[in-house]
């Protein structure tokens, strides 16, 4: 008769965490910055069809790194949850906090259940407010941990390098153009340890904003094509 090996719970969780972290580290980074009129998301993503950043609801957006099929599932679940809340209560009653909590519970349960492999994803849930001080940014990790972020944040493959660059150069109250250029510089900085700065072509960038100055209730907007290369060329 085979005796199963004893694995301590600490070791089991550590193994699962290592597994998820490795998966996430393989992908490219996503950077997020608060600027004067909202929140901007920038990532390096040559695909025009498979998005890393998307709209969830009027004031709420979602960004993710890791396995596409897994975070796409979470994104769809988020849209369904938000639309259901907005339909059964009111549009104003859909909050980023509620969504982040649902994600945290889901990721946490999947991480600690023996039957499923942990999700190899990391997520930002951001909600833009009427003022900069009302903005809310949550970072969720593969194990369901949830953290508040302020000013700037990065996740994905080279998250630490990107975050370090942002920490050095970020100032409050940036314009949209300034925030975009800073985020792109931070992403380009990563692969350029000690060498010349890399230039990421505008076509390889996925950029979206939650713009509080939009008059429409839906504040999410993608920046691409000419408007994007125009801003970058102005650097």
């Amino acid at each position: 008769m085979n005796m199963p090996f004893y694995v301590s719970p600490e070791q089991l969780m550590k193994d699962r965490a290592d597994f998820a972290r490795k998966g996430i580290a393989r992908g490219r980074s996503v950077a997020l910055l608060q600027y004067a009129d909202g929140i901007i998301f920038v990532s390096e993503n040559p695909s025009q069809a498979l998005h890393k950043v998307s709209e969830i609801y009027d004031r709420i957006a979602f960004a993710a790194v890791g396995r596409y099929n897994e975070f796409e599932n979470l994104r769809i679940a988020g849209v369904r949850l938000a639309d259901l809340r907005g339909y059964s209560y009111d549009r104003r009653d859909v909050t980023g906090r509620g969504l982040a909590n649902a994600y945290a519970q889901t990721l946490g349960t999947i991480f600690s259940s023996g039957g499923e492999k942990p999700y190899e994803v990391e997520i930002f849930v951001a909600e833009v407010g009427d003022e900069v001080s009302d903005d809310k940014i949550f970072r969720l990790t593969y194990d369901g941990q949830i953290a508040d972020e302020h000013g700037y944040a990065a996740m994905g493959g080279d998250a630490e390098t990107v975050a370090a660059y942002l920490a050095e150069h970020y100032t409050e109250g940036l314009s949209l153009d300034g925030a975009l250029r800073l985020a792109v510089a931070a992403l380009a900085h990563t692969a350029a340890e000690g060498t010349e700065e890399r230039i990421i072509p505008a076509g390889d960038l996925e950029v979206a904003v939650l713009d509080r100055t939009r008059t429409l209730p839906r504040k999410f907007r993608r920046l691409n094509g000419d408007s994007l290369s125009g801003i970058l060329a102005g650097a």
Partner: protein, 283 residues
Amino acid sequence: MNSASAAGSSGRLSDAYLTPGSTSFADFLGSVAPELLPARRPLPPGSAADLAPHGTTIVAATFPDGVVMAGDRRATMGNVIAQRDIEKVFPADEFSCVGIAGTAGLAVEMVRLFQTELEHYEKLEGSTLSIDGKANRLSALIRNNLALAMQGLAVVPLFAGFDQRARQGRIFSYDVTGGRYEETAFHSVGSGSMFARGSLKKLYRNDFTADECVTATIQALYDAADDDSATGGPDLARRIFPVVHVITAAGQVRMPEDQVAAIADSVVAGRMQRPDGPNAALN
């Protein structure tokens, strides 16, 4: 399960949320919170027709750059005016709007469901439905309401939008069984619709500007109010005027109140001279 909470026993999002596939919000609602769908609510036998206010006349007309939809502001309950300033024309999404006649409460609920349905698809798929796709979805929502319609709670919408492929405005009408009919040039639904349609028949030209098209729809609503007691005319004392939405290639906008008021005032001024409205040429 509480309809608005997603949590299963463990607190995580239930499988219905995480299962890929359907892009329809109404289908999703049917699987997680069916009690929120008007059609899934059990109704005791008997007619419910006199229980709730009814919305009345909606008109829509196309012009070369797009389409205009206008609705009067009256809701009635039998012989009583239930509300003087009800709004019965709603934006459905960026390039379409929907006007409603029939049981007001159910109709407003259906419009909210339809709006969510379109936005839901847009967010999940990353692209908007074609105008025919939108018209068909609305058809499906009305079809689900047939049992209620048979008990007197009918909802009959009028749908109009800008077709971005054909570059023109289009109008769709419906019957209570969900039948969908595309209309050319203009159409009207609701209790005053036959008077409004007769009016538009004589006034409509296919080279209207947007403002002329709005004027024609307001003339039609005036004629409907003239002969149908359930349709409200321009309320000059309270300054309540029809709700007008204009949809062009640039998207749909609700015409600002003061602009509608100016057009309505000129229509009323004309009627002071000739109460039956403008004379059409005999041949």
